[in-house]
Amino acid sequence: MAVAAPTTTPTIPRPVLDHIHPEPTGFIRKYIFSIDHKIIAFQYFITAGLFFIIAGLLAEMIRIDLLKHTGVLTPNVYNQVYSVHGSMMVWLVIIPFVSGAFGNFVMPLQIGARDVAFPWLNLAAFWMFPPAGLILLASFAFGAPDAGWTEYPPISLQAPFGTSMWCIAIFLIGISSTLTGINFLVTIFKMRAPGMTFTRMPLFVWASAATAGLNMVATTALAAALLALFLERQFGVPFYNPTKGGSPILWQHMFWFYSHPAVYIMILPAFGIISEVLPTFSRKPIFGYKMIAFSSVAIALLGFMVWAHHMFTSGMAPWLQLPFMIITMLIAIPTGIKIFSWMATLWGGSIEFSAACLFALGFLITFTLGGVTGFFLAAVPADLHEHGTYFVVGHIHYVLYGGSVFGIYAGLYYWWPKMTGRMMNERLGQWHAWITFVAFNCTFLPMHWLGLLGMPRRVAMYDPEFEGWNIVVSVCSFFLAASTLLIMGNMLWSFKNGKKAGPNPWGARTLEWMISSPPPYYNFKTVPAVLAAPYDFGNPLPYIGLDAEPGAMEATPQSTTGLVHAH
């Protein structure tokens, strides 16, 4: 920064053109400690993917235990397994996937930036993530956390040392998310290509911005809650322990003040992905761009005012239940606007059922069901029956698996060619989509009825009359796990046999498709100027000053789904 220069600052109407670091040489700097957002995104993919496998296996252990109403595992093991499964899926899989991986790879490309605002911060944020995961897994050696991913005190105060390790791990993830959030916000505010006004940003960027805001604000609240829990566990500092004047309810307030926005941290980027995939594969402008964009922000804001709807039975002042119930129901309105706009985007389109598109359609259906059961849980009197039962388990899996993970799959099939430069096998991808969709619903739909009929969650053994449905659920969950092998195989297959993607295999119109796949280190030789929102199929592309890769600017994409025999 030691630049002696004239005090006058010429104002040039363009964002940071030269905000790019020289390309590193040498394996370590290039692939391990790279500050390139694309490499860091890959690192997030690989790490989160590994954790996804582990957490998935833990989930299957849960289902194996529940095959018998007396339980198969010892209760202690079971409790640790499901707690770590939940914690990993939320903090080590979905959040890193949606904001760490997709946010890092796609967002800078879509706004025409050469990197994120603070590449070194990005690097630091990533390298807090694998240690956190390892600490959480290592906690099995010390008695892993066993009170669920929510770790309610006071029982989590009496748990063995593993719970303290859980605090440390989640704290690290929290710092990482906060740094990423700040980084992304600055990137989106300061580094958009010239002419890319807010209403010309791709919708995934809007979603990333809302998510980054949530990450930045909410996560530090979680850090505080975790710090207090850690201090109380290790030094007996009374925050939560009722016998020393603390309050167990305090934890629930502080935890859910983060963890409800966290639900939107996990789902908003998925919304963004769907908003990119649907227009591309129905060859239509997204319907109601502004409404979708603003509803993301509205959801993010409302998300801060509903946390206590997780606590209707825990003994808040009863009058507090009403405002939280009503605000929670209000969130259905922006969400509904999104769903309807996506439906309208399909209308009159020329829909190509690529794997990504199939997952997007599956997302619409499963997420709608998740939203409907959300109504059931928001209404206080109904929640008094459902709280703490398998109904809640079914609901959370419909929004997190049927929502976030379906979105992640859609995004993977959509951006994989851009990331690797090779296509995946579309047929296999379509099979993956169908099997996942069926197995998913057979796995999680019965849980709602189990809950309503009186099966509480977090139990290692249950009443005999529920055994039949639990066997169904478990068997289907095995198919669901098996379906994951399809996409893994597909990725490996594409590395070897996948055919070259070219810059723009889907005929998409956002900026990342205008450059070669995989993108060069500096992303854009020259940063283009943006003339309009990206989704007007049929019109010429709204970018100038872009020396596009050959083939990118063609209006006619070669179809790669095999359903259409192009050229």
């Binding site: 060859r283 239509k284 769903i339 209308w347 009159g348 309503l452 009443d463 179809s559």
Partner: protein
């Protein structure tokens, strides 16, 4: 936009209105079945306010089902009708519309109206849960690792793992957790058939109000907050008895006759309030005043008088007073008035120099012996 709005009007798609009609009819039929059947819960409604809560469930089921049908129906319809056909050129594109203010207005307003309706409906039922009017039986449920215990007024000792309430008597149930000395952990109290639930939080008292309406049982009392390794096994049984059966059960527990709900019925035989008897003081008293003639073993272990160890639980114990197995009330009456009959003689309280308070303590002590 105007021309595009008109553009959307032309050819919404083949059979669009037919499909719409189908979706709506299907939703209507589904809603009908939701209301006709026990769906979505399908458990008996054994207490107020279960019917109200089920009404909300039915409304939610019908509304949610309809929304789901509409979304899913149109998605499938659009996916079929607007799919890219093999005949289409690879550069085929869809209708280039960006929005439709009218449509967007309505699909913002209608959900808002639905939300308002649902909010009002929920609030009404919510307020019916809050009313404190006319609670007659006020009792306490306490969660332990891993069992429930229940405290009744006028009952010295808590009852474990079994909750009886008389039918048609409004119950105010205070739930909490972890008596002093126990490790404090959260529990939950849930009777699915009543549809109500409250967390049992140490150092905090939550309240449930309901009015049993159907005699029956046993029903499940389920712990719904994770409370330790054996959380899954934590159950208790819940009975709704007729007033008569309840009183019998209550007396068996050592409750001096008359329902605790009956609003201060004369506590115990000979008008002695047995509720606040103290078993420990009773033990010392027994050693001082009774052990000369009575053992604390089975009835057969006779000194001067019979063994009293299992007086309230031993079916073999002879009928003393009114043709029933001895109740605490009977025992109290005998201590007060003395006994003369086929198993011997016992002087009255004044001769034995024991006060009514002593009698209460002794009965409590005998009751505790009978539980062992």
């Amino acid at each position: 936009m105007a021309h595009q709005v008109t553009k959307t009007k032309v050819s919404l798609g083949p059979y669009f209105w037919l499909v719409t009609a189908f979706i709506l009819v299907a939703s209507a039929i589904m809603s009908y079945f939701v209301y006709a059947s026990g769906w979505p819960i399908g458990l008996p409604e054994i207490a107020e306010p279960a019917p109200e809560i089920d009404a909300l469930f039915k409304f939610l089921g019908a509304m949610g089902g309809t929304i789901f049908n509409i979304v899913t129906g149109y998605i499938i319809y659009f996916a079929i009708v607007f799919r890219r056909k093999k005949s289409d050129p690879p550069d085929a594109i869809g209708v280039q519309i960006h929005d439709n203010p009218v449509l967007e207005f309505w699909w913002t307003v209608i959900p808002t109206i639905l939300v308002v309706i649902l909010a009002i409906f929920s609030t009404v039922i919510w307020s019916s849960l809050q009313n404190t009017a006319g609670d007659v039986l006020t009792m306490e449920a306490i969660g332990h690792q891993y069992y429930f215990s229940f405290r009744y007024p006028k009952l010295a000792n808590p009852v474990n793992n079994e909750m009886h309430v008389p039918v048609n008597v409004p119950v105010t149930l205070h739930v909490t957790s972890a008596e002093p000395g126990e490790p404090p952990v959260n529990h939950g109290f849930w009777v699915p058939e009543v549809r109500l639930k409250a967390d049992m939080v140490p150092g905090l008292i939550n309240t449930l109000r309901f009015t049993p309406t159907q005699i029956g049982g046993p029903y499940r009392i389920i712990c719904t907050e994770f409370c330790g390794a054996l959380h899954g096994t934590m159950r208790a049984t819940f009975y709704i008895d007729s007033q008569k059966d309840f009183d019998k059960w209550f007396a068996k527990q050592g409750g001096s006759g008359g329902s605790p709900g009956a609003g201060g019925a004369a506590g115990g035989g000979a008008g002695i309030a047995l509720a606040n008897g103290n078993a420990d003081q009773g033990a010392t008293l027994f050693a001082a005043k009774c052990s000369a003639c009575h053992s604390v073993n089975a009835f057969s272990d006779k000194k001067v008088g019979p063994g009293l160890g299992k007086i309230f639980s031993d079916p073999g114990h002879p009928k003393l007073v009114n043709g029933t197995a001895p109740t605490p009330a009977d025992a109290a009456a005998i201590m007060k008035n003395g006994y003369t009959g086929d198993i011997g003689q016992m002087p009255d309280a004044s001769t034995n120099q024991i006060t009514d308070g002593d009698i209460a303590n002794l009965v409590a002590y005998l009751a505790s012996l009978s539980k062992k």
